[in-house]
Every structure is written in C-alpha cells, then in structure tokens.
C-alpha cells in the first residue's frame, strides 16, 4: 500500500510515494528524488558514504528509516554547493585535489562539514578522529586531511 511521506530536502519540501515507510532514507534520496550525493556503500552503517546532514548532524542514511526524518531538515552533498558555487569545504577538496575515484567523498565532505561547524580549527588528530568511521579504499586520506585543514583556514 503506497504511503505518502513528506520530506524537507536541501531546503525544499517534497512528498514521495513509498511502499514501506520504514525504508531507509538513502533509497528515497537516490531513487525517488534522483539525488547522486548520498551513495550506497555497505548498507550496514560501516563505511560512511551514504551520510547526510539531518538537522545539521551527520547521519548514515542507509540505516535511517524514513519514519525518523519527519519534520527534520535533510541536507545532502548537493545541498551544500555546486561546481559553480561549491561550499567552503567542497572548495577545499577541489583545491587539494582530494579524490581518486571520489565515491567516498560524500561521506568525507558531510562529516568534515559537521566537524568544522563545531570545531573551528581542528588538529590533525581531531580530523582523523572525526573521519575515522569513513572508509576510503583508494588511499586519499592524506589529501582529505589537508582539505579539511584548508577549509578550516579559509573559514
């Protein structure tokens, strides 16, 4: 039985039809709204690549059911900025060339954005700790750390 679910995504109120209101937010964002920022990595909350900001806090959308996001503001990677107008953190990632395949970038940028919102000038250990649950297989970690430092400097 399809159910209507109302969401606030990237500042826009949207209503989607889903079969299961317990469906994880990730599939609503990717399949119903055709957003490309949040990505499926493991579906188990282990890799971080599906992260979004929920009322400003990073959450893993692969294990966040739609029932838990009612009346909350969802911001995805697209909601932070665009190639034409990247957010300061996105800008720093571009400037540091902090990507190889780029599949994990969503989780990195979402978590870095949340970190810098609370900690203006994080130390390297603080950055590493904040990103510890985000996996990168290509080995771009050092560039990502430099990107977060750069974003902090430019803030």
């Amino acid at each position: 039985m399809p159910t209507s679910v109302s969401l606030d995504v990237n500042g826009r109120a949207v209503t989607i039809e889903v079969d299961d209101p317990g469906m994880p937010l990730l599939y609503a964002l990717r399949d119903n709204l055709e957003l490309k920022g949040p990505r499926f990595g493991c579906g188990l909350g282990q890799c971080g690549t599906c992260a979004v900001l929920l009322d400003g806090e990073p959450v893993l959308s692969c294990e966040t059911p739609l029932t838990k996001v009612a009346n909350k503001k969802v911001v995805t990677l697209e909601g932070l900025g665009s190639p034409e107008q990247p957010s300061p953190v996105q800008r720093a990632f571009i400037d540091e060339q902090a990507a190889q395949c780029g599949y994990c970038l969503n989780g990195m940028i979402i978590h870095a954005t949340a970190l810098l919102a609370k900690t203006k000038n994080p130390t390297v250990p603080e950055i590493k700790k904040a990103l510890a649950d985000n996996l990168c297989r290509c080995g771009t970690h050092l560039r990502i750390i430099r990107a977060v430092q750069r974003a902090a400097r430019n803030a």
Partner: protein, 742 residues
C-alpha cells in the same frame, strides 16, 4: 594543384606521401553519403579509431583504456591537448565503449599511459602531421615554417583551423609510428599538474557514477547467491516473498537465483526474504592449513622466469646457506561502492552499461553466455567506485543480463549488496614463495634460488558467476577454465633486479586455487617483491651489511642506483646493518627498505618505511613512508603523487590487516567489520620525490609503488625487533608469535 576541401566527407588520404583529393574522398563513400553517418571505425591502427575533430574544433578522443578513479581521463586529455596544441577544454574523452573505442585491452597493471596513452599520442601526432602537411600545401610553405597553436595552423601570413581542415571529416590514415611527436622541451600541458577534470562534480554530487545511471523503464534486480560456493539450488519457496511490494519476478536458472522488482528497496527486501534450499558443499580447504594445501596442490607446469649461471651447483658449493618461506594471504578488492550494471535487450541486441575495466572481453563473455553473435552486444563503460583489478562489475553485468532476459529484455539494474561483494568478487590468490641463497667465505652472495607457487593461467577473462551458476551443474570454482595464451600475471617480479652470479627463479603453476581468482592491485608484483625484497634483507643481516648498501652493490642499472641514492638522502638513511642495537623498550622503532624495478611497466620505485611496534600488543604502526619514484616522463605530477599516496596507503592496509576469512563452504568475512581496512587514525605520512625524465617513455605509476610496501614494513619490523615477518598480513597475533619464537 592539390588542395584540401573541407566537407563533412572530407578525407585525408596517404600512401606514404600525403595525397588528398576530393575525388578519392567521394569514391569510397559515395554510397554512404546518402545514408546516415558511417559507422565509426574502432581499428586500433587508424587515426580515426582514436580521434575525431568536429566543425566546432572540438577534439574527441576514443580511449579503450578507462579512468578507474586514477585520473586517467585528465592525463589522456593532457596528452592529446599537448600533441595537437589545443586547449584542454576543447578535448573530450569517450572511454570503453565497444561501438566507438578501439580494443586497447584490459585497463590494468598501470599500463594505461604507458601503452594506451602512447597509442593515442601517436594517433594525435599522425593527425597533426597530416593537418600540417595540408596546411603547408595550402599556404605554399614547408611544414617547418608553420606554427600551430590553439588548434590553428599559421604560416606565410595565413591561418586555418583544424576544424576548417577536417571538421567532422575522417582522416582515413593509418597511425604512423614515425610521425614525430612533440619535443618534450616544448611541452606546455604535459608535465604540469593540471587539476583533475572530474573532481568539482564529484565533490558536489553532480557526477554520475555507474550507480547513478538510469534508463527509462528500468527495473531493479538483486541476486541471491548460494550459501556455499559450489552448492546446488534444491528448491525455492516463492510464497516466502509473495507479500513484498514491487516484486515482479523470482528468476531461477540452474543455480542462478535473483529477484526483479519495480523499486530498489523492493528488490532488496525480496532478496533478503526469499527462502531457498541449497545443497551442502564443503570444497574449500581448511583455512588453518591453507599453506599445506597450496604446497600439496598439483603443479601443472613450471616456468623459469630467470636463469643465470648454475645456481644448483653454486648453492651446494656455498659454505653458508640460508632459506626462508614467505606467504601472502587471500585478499579481496573491497571497492567502497559495490559492483553495479544495467542491461537492456532490445530486438535481440544486448546493451550493457557497467564500470568494467574490460568492456571488450566482457562483451565477448556476454555474447557467449547469452548465445548471441558478438555484433549484437554493446558494452559501455561508466565510471564506478575505485577499481583495483577485476572485481565484480563484469559479474554484475552477467547477473543483469540474465535478469533482463527473464523480463523480456526490459532494462534491469543489478547492484550487489556488501555481502555479495565481499563474498563473491574474485579473490587475490594465496601465494607461497620459497627462497634459498648461498654465501661464500668472504660474505659474497653466490647463489639465489626461488620457487613461486601461483595459480595457473594469467590474464584471461575471469569466468562470470552468472554463467557458471546458470549452467546448472554444481559449480566447481576451483577448476574453472580461464583465458589462455596470456602471460601469468602472478609471476611478475619473480626475477630479481640484482646482479648475482647464479640465479634461478621458477614459477610453479598450480592446477587449483581455493577461489575464483583475479588480479588485485600489483598482482604477483606485490607478493613476489615482498618475498624477494625481504630475503635480500635477510641476506644483508646475515652478512652484516647495510640493506640499502647491499642493494646498491648489486645494482648495475644507473637509473635504479640513482633512485636508491636519492632515497637514502630523502629518508636520511643511516648506513648500518639491521637490526638496530637492542634497546629493549616496549615500543620499538625501525626502518626498512623495499625496491623494485617493475615489470611490465619499467618503473623504478624505492621506499623506506618507518614504523613503531609495540612488543606487548604486537601492534605495528606505520608512521611514514619515503618514496622515490621514476616512471620516465611524467604526464601529471600531482596525478602521479596521488597514485603513489593511494597505493602506499592501500598496501599498508593490505599488509597489516587484510585477509579473507572462510570456512569449508564460503567466505565468512562478508563486511567491513570482519574484513577491516586501514582507517584515518592509522594512516602513515607519505613523503614523495618524483624523478621526471621527460625524454624517456612514460611508464606505469601506481601499482609499482604498491609492490614495495610489504617488504619495507617487514624489514622495518626486523630492524626494530630482530624478528622476521614472513606472512602477510602482519597481524598483532603474528607479531607476538614471531617475538615468542625468536
């Protein structure tokens, strides 16, 4: 007088000397002129195979090699922009489309610049030469008096654009291997750290990965794999999923089982809920005795990979001998994004979109599995999550093909779940290496012998899971046939780069290996360089020599020697033997070296690892890596650095942590908690010095750096503790056992 007429059918024709006539152009294509655009050639000896120039001056490059997240798109764009003297933003790249791009083989082994890029460079050089000759005739000057910039050819007060000469036409030229390429001293784009073209879109969610690809009417599929690798499907209870919203079909073909739904979440729920009964199968070896199993496996053939002097005699004559055995665990690719593909079948023609590193061989495999002519299969590459070898993309494509066929050809998207990926992608095979060496009374190494136990067959297409399962018989993944006639990739680097009077290295090709296997970053190169470079270190310690000094003393190659000297400076290497003097604190530090002159890419790389090891916990912390890297001409220095950093960090992960776990039936390390990889707090610093040799041919960057990592870490642990780690991964338990047994 000959002149060039620019038309949509414009043709440059050569037969040694350049001959251009409109008549020639009109003749072969007169029939085509009325039809739609002629089929683009994909011939790899034709300029038109690789390049076209539009009426707007846009240069399109058709590359059979694909960007697997390595920055290849940017590097190839630089190569073409440089050779044709056009701005980078006027070059676009089409990659891995079997209808449009020449077959340049699998994108693997860090050969995309060295081989693929050089083919494309030569195509561009041929095009440039032809265009210049036309312009020279038109202007009435010698080609040496022309200037080319920004896609404009100028001379004798006149100018013409490439578009004006060829716009939308075909070159109809064989690639001329004698066409001069630009003098590297004049390079403006190659050799510069041009920013990656894809990062702005990737950092902002606009980039479309394979996982974002959609076609109209697309359905969602998921696979349900056997509980044991070789199990047979006995029964399926379809009523178990009758209530799943959106489910359209349960698809069963032999032992292949999958579901198709209108929504992704519906497909996931159906795959999770579906009740199926599988036979028992316990064909995997006992993991606790894996190396006994490998050693007992039947050897099908031996390949002598190097043979100098008489090693057997020298070894038996040697007054002192040492020997050691090294092993390297089964590992998984572990891409962060899972394998994904979309297949559609229309009028009997199969279209497959995937992130395959090998769209050409995938096309052949799909044609065989689906029993259709090759011409009826079209494979297109779309970038996926980082790809480090033949992982599961081709298999997801096979899955999608079977599911699409079951749905009457409707497009079906298959994305693997994490357990499908960890459980079913082809594995890096277990590798075992025995080494022996002889030393004379003066401490000189007189003999080196080694035996490498590796799977038979090398680089052929890995069998598709869907094809094996659908065939119905209980699958026997151990003995599946691979492609033949290709060099055995796992034997790479089995020969050593050092000059010794007597050497014999032998690859023993095994009839069986526990898993469907494939190449993962630096295949063979890494396992073999691990054994070789550790054993060199063992010899240095045995003789009481400095490990770097010993290598230098046996390296006649000046590029290799230059690199080692630079590495010594970069890492502030202190000349002394290992281990360092025993100050027995709980946490010990050490330094270790690894070196490789790599093949098939003639890249030189040396690395020094600095580590800390905790004697109480057995934990190794890699603090930093110093790397000196010589890959000849560098196309994009920052791109090379990015690849080196990535390969070092990924291989630190593989060396310290990674090992596929399994019972007698299947893989049991099905997610990141049971197959952990390196995380941010564990990542070492990487300090890199690049040696640029603009006049040398570019060779591979990336995998060569990975090859030296395990040995450098093992040698550093020996330097710290005086114990030798000979089994990857270097888990705390193995470190403690090594200390205990010392």
């Amino acid at each position: 007088m000959l002149d060039f007429v620019s038309t949509r059918r414009g043709i440059l024709k050569t037969g040694g000397a350049l001959v251009v006539t409109f008549a020639l152009a009109a003749k072969p294509y007169s029939a085509l002129a009325q039809s739609s655009a002629p089929k683009k050639t994909v011939a790899s000896d034709e300029v038109d195979g690789f390049l076209s120039i539009g009426t707007d001056g846009q240069v399109t490059v058709y590359s059979g090699k694909v960007d697997l997240g390595t920055g290849l798109r940017t590097a190839l764009t630089q190569i073409v922009a440089e050779e044709l003297d056009v701005p980078i933003d006027r070059v676009r790249l089409i990659q891995g489309d079997t209808a449009l791009t020449p077959d340049q083989g699998v994108t693997a082994a860090s050969l995309s610049i060295q081989k693929g890029g050089m083919q494309i460079r030569q195509a561009a050089a041929t095009a440039r030469k032809a265009l210049a000759e036309i312009a020279a005739k038109r202007f009435g000057v010698a080609t040496t008096e022309l200037r080319i910039e920004d896609g404009m050819i100028k001379g004798n007060g006149m100018s013409v654009s490439y578009a004006g000469l060829i716009g939308d036409g075909t070159f109809s030229l064989k690639i001329d291997n004698n066409a001069p390429t630009k003098n590297p001293a004049t390079y403006k784009v190659v050799g510069k750290s041009v920013a990656r073209l894809d990062i702005p879109e990737k950092a902002t969610g606009r980039f479309s990965f394979m996982h974002d690809f959609r076609v109209a009417g697309m359905l969602y599929g998921r696979v349900v794999r056997p509980l044991a690798i070789g199990a047979s499907l006995e029964s399926v209870d379809e009523s178990s999923v009758s209530g799943v919203p959106g489910l359209l079909k349960v698809v069963r073909e032999g032992n292949f089982l999958g579901v198709v739904a209108t929504t992704e979440w519906g497909a996931i729920q159906a795959a999770r809920t579906l009740k199926a009964t599988w036979s028992n199968w316990e064909g995997l070896p006992d993991r606790a005795h894996l190396w006994d199993y490998v050693r007992a496996t039947r050897i099908k053939s031996d390949v002598v990979t190097s043979n100098v002097g008489d090693s057997a005699k020298a070894l038996s004559d040697a007054p002192k001998r040492i020997s050691a055995t090294y092993d390297f665990a089964v590992q998984t690719h572990g891409s962060i994004g899972p394998s994904c593909a979309v297949v559609e079948i229309k009028d009997g023609r199969i279209t497959c979109w995937s992130a395959s590193q090998a769209t050409q061989s995938l096309r052949r495999q799909l044609a065989a599995m689906m029993d259709v002519p090759l011409d009826d299969v079209h494979c297109l590459y779309i970038e996926g999550s980082g790809c480090y070898g033949r992982n599961g993309h081709e298999d997801a494509a096979g899955d999608a093909a079977l599911l699409s066929r079951a749905m009457g050809g409707r497009p079906v998207r298959v994305q693997w779940m994490r357990a499908d990926e960890h459980g079913w992608d082809p594995k890096g095979p277990p590798t075992l290496v025995d080494l022996r060496a002889g030393v004379d009374a003066e401490g000189r190494i007189t003999a080196w012998e080694s035996d490498f136990f590796i799977p038979e067959d090398g680089f052929g297409p890995v069998p598709l899971i869907a094809a094996t399962l659908a065939a119905g018989a209980p699958s026997a993944p151990i003995t599946q046939p691979y492609g033949h006639g290709s060099p055995n990739v796992m034997a790479t680097n089995s020969a050593i780069p050092y000059n010794l009077p007597n050497i014999k290295t032998v690859a023993h090709l095994l009839a069986e290996t526990p898993f469907r296997w494939s190449w993962i970053r630096s295949p063979g190169r890494m396992q073999n360089a691990f054994a070789n470079e550790c054993f060199v270190d063992e010899l240095a310690a045995f003789i009481g020599a400095d490990p770097l000094d010993l290598r230098l003393g046996h390296l006649k190659d000046p590029r290799g020697a230059d690199l080692l000297r630079r590495l010594a400076t970069l890492a502030r290497w202190k000349n002394r033997p290992s281990p360092r003097s025993p100050a027995q604190s709980d946490v010990m530090v050490g330094r270790g070296i690894g070196f490789a002159k790599d093949f098939p890419s003639p890249t030189y790389v040396g690395a020094v690892a600095e580590i800390e090891v905790d004697r109480r916990s057995g934990e190794i912390r890699v603090q930093r890596f110093f790397v000196v890297h010589d890959c000849g001409q560098i196309i994009n220095p920052d791109g090379v650095r990015n690849q080196i950093e990535g390969n070092i960090i990924q291989t630190v992960s593989r060396t310290l942590k990674e090992e596929v776990l399994f019972d007698r039936s299947a893989v049991t390390s099905l997610h990141w908690a049971t197959y952990p990889i390196l995380t941010f707090p564990e990542v070492p610093d990487v300090i890199i010095e690049l040696i640029d040799r603009p006049t040398e041919t570019p060779s591979g960057a990336g995998e060569p750096a990975a090859a030296v990592v395990p040995a450098a870490i093992s040698n550093a642990v020996f330097d710290a503790l005086g114990v030798r780690l000979r089994s990857v991964p270097f888990t705390p338990a193995k470190v403690l056992a090594a200390i205990e047994g010392h």
